[in-house]
């Protein structure tokens, strides 16, 4: 473990600067800006961002308006990690050949752009060991195109392509284990983030500055529209995700696991599920087994993480 020299202890220590500004057209109550503004505060200049196609990209750069006060690049949907690789390599070459400055390169993608269409580019970038930060903001479906299911959609959730049907009650498959896939690449640092735990989030972002090579963050991004939830409840839902073990907060340094927010008495998963319309059908008696299955899986995953921290 690295010494926690730069750690903050309270929200007040987070600097009062905004490099992602008002006037963006993300939905009211969206979880993405809470991530972005803190990323831009925690990662120092010189920096450049690459954004995969998705909600954030579309809503923050409607020509001629941009909400970005940092160099920001969008190329396509599936290739944020590849574009970031190119930028990182270019600055490395230019630094060596022409005395340029090396940039902190940050790639951003949603769950669609990371779990599904972008996983090949991500895997390639991780394997090649580029010195960059990749952040997946996971709102658990293709929200930009109208709430279609993705590899990040959890079991049982209703989306427009996995509706709560009378025969198939929501998504029949489990959420892909993205962190495990990333960690299997042997990256120096990977961590989960949650907006309801801002100090934990900020400290992990600061920590990314200490590692050379690919850093990965998996951010829980509340989506009131796609989850059929109240706009004002975004942070509360995020908090419940942690407290019910749906979204464990942990970090992995060179394969070494550490749980960063310990949950001693987890709440039952129903408390989380009932906050969102996408899970409403699970409360019908005939779908009870799905809740039980979700409960079993999150507990097993937590126990697995606890074991991993002891390795």
């Amino acid at each position: 473990m690295l010494p926690d020299v730069n750690k903050i202890r309270t929200i007040k220590e987070i600097p009062n600067i905004d490099l992602f500004v008002s006037g963006h057209r993300l939905c009211a109550g969206c979880g993405i800006p809470i991530l972005i503004k803190n990323v831009l505060r925690a990662i120092p200049d010189p920096k450049a961002l690459v954004n995969a196609t998705g909600c954030l990209e579309v809503a923050s750069t409607i020509y001629p308006y941009t909400s970005w006060k940092v160099p920001w690049v969008h190329v396509a949907f599936e290739n944020a990690a590849a574009v970031a690789s190119g930028i990182e390599a270019a600055f490395r070459a230019l630094e060596r050949k022409k005395g340029g400055q090396k940039y902190n390169v940050i790639a951003l993608g949603g769950d669609g752009g990371t779990f599904d269409i972008g996983i090949q580019a991500l895997s390639g970038a991780l394997e090649r060991g580029h010195d960059l930060i990749y952040i997946c903001y996971d709102n658990e479906a293709y929200m930009n195109t109208g709430i279609q299911r993705s590899g990040g959609t959890p079991l049982g959730a209703a989306t427009t392509t996995s509706p709560a049907g009378s025969v198939i009650p929501g998504k029949p498959e489990y959420k892909k284990s993205l962190m495990d896939i990333v960690v299997a690449h042997g990256v120096p640092y990977a961590a989960t983030l949650n907006p309801a735990y801002p100090v934990d989030m900020y400290n992990k972002l600061l920590k990314a500055n200490e590692f050379e090579g690919p850093k990965f963050f998996h951010y829980y991004s509340p989506c009131p529209v796609g989850w059929w939830a109240s706009e004002s409840m975004s942070i509360e839902i995020a908090r419940l995700a942690v407290q019910t073990l749906v979204w464990p907060l942990y970090e992995v340094e060179y394969g070494k696991y550490r749980i960063t927010v310990n949950i001693r008495n987890p709440k039952p998963i129903e408390e989380y599920l009932k906050t969102q319309g996408r899970f409403r059908h699970l409360f019908k008696p005939e779908n009870r087994w799905i809740i039980d299955e979700l409960q079993r899986r999150v507990r097993e995953n937590w126990e697995r993480l606890e074991k991993l921290t002891k390795l």
């Binding site: 929200i11 905004d18 500004v21 109550g29 308006y65 909400s67 006060k69 706009e231 004002s232 975004s234």
Partner: protein, 95 residues
């Protein structure tokens, strides 16, 4: 932006937007159905509303007091929901 060119010859190349943060010209406050009202006497300057506001519509002042920027506030109500002292209340937008 009223000053942005409307002639293709004058546009910056490649669709580049060369004014950083130009979305400040786009006021999202009109989206709001309910508006947050701040009671400064109840505020303990914890910065929770500032940190969580998805629209950067809560300004954190030098003395750590806060003010709501209604030009951009979309009225999501996260600030009121999360405020530990109930110093922010959501009320119906009038007019």
């Amino acid at each position: 932006m009223s000053s942005w060119p409307r002639d293709w010859r004058e546009l910056p190349m490649a669709g580049i937007i060369n004014i950083a943060g130009s979305s400040l010209d786009y006021k999202t406050g009109t989206w709001r159905a309910r508006k947050p009202v701040l009671y400064p006497d109840k505020c303990i300057k914890c910065q929770i509303c500032w940190l969580f506001c998805p629209d950067m519509a809560i300004n954190r002042l030098e003395d750590d007091s806060v003010e709501i920027n209604y030009e951009y506030c979309k009225g999501c109500g996260i600030c009121a929901e999360e405020c530990p002292t109930k110093a922010i209340e959501m009320v119906e937008e009038v007019g």
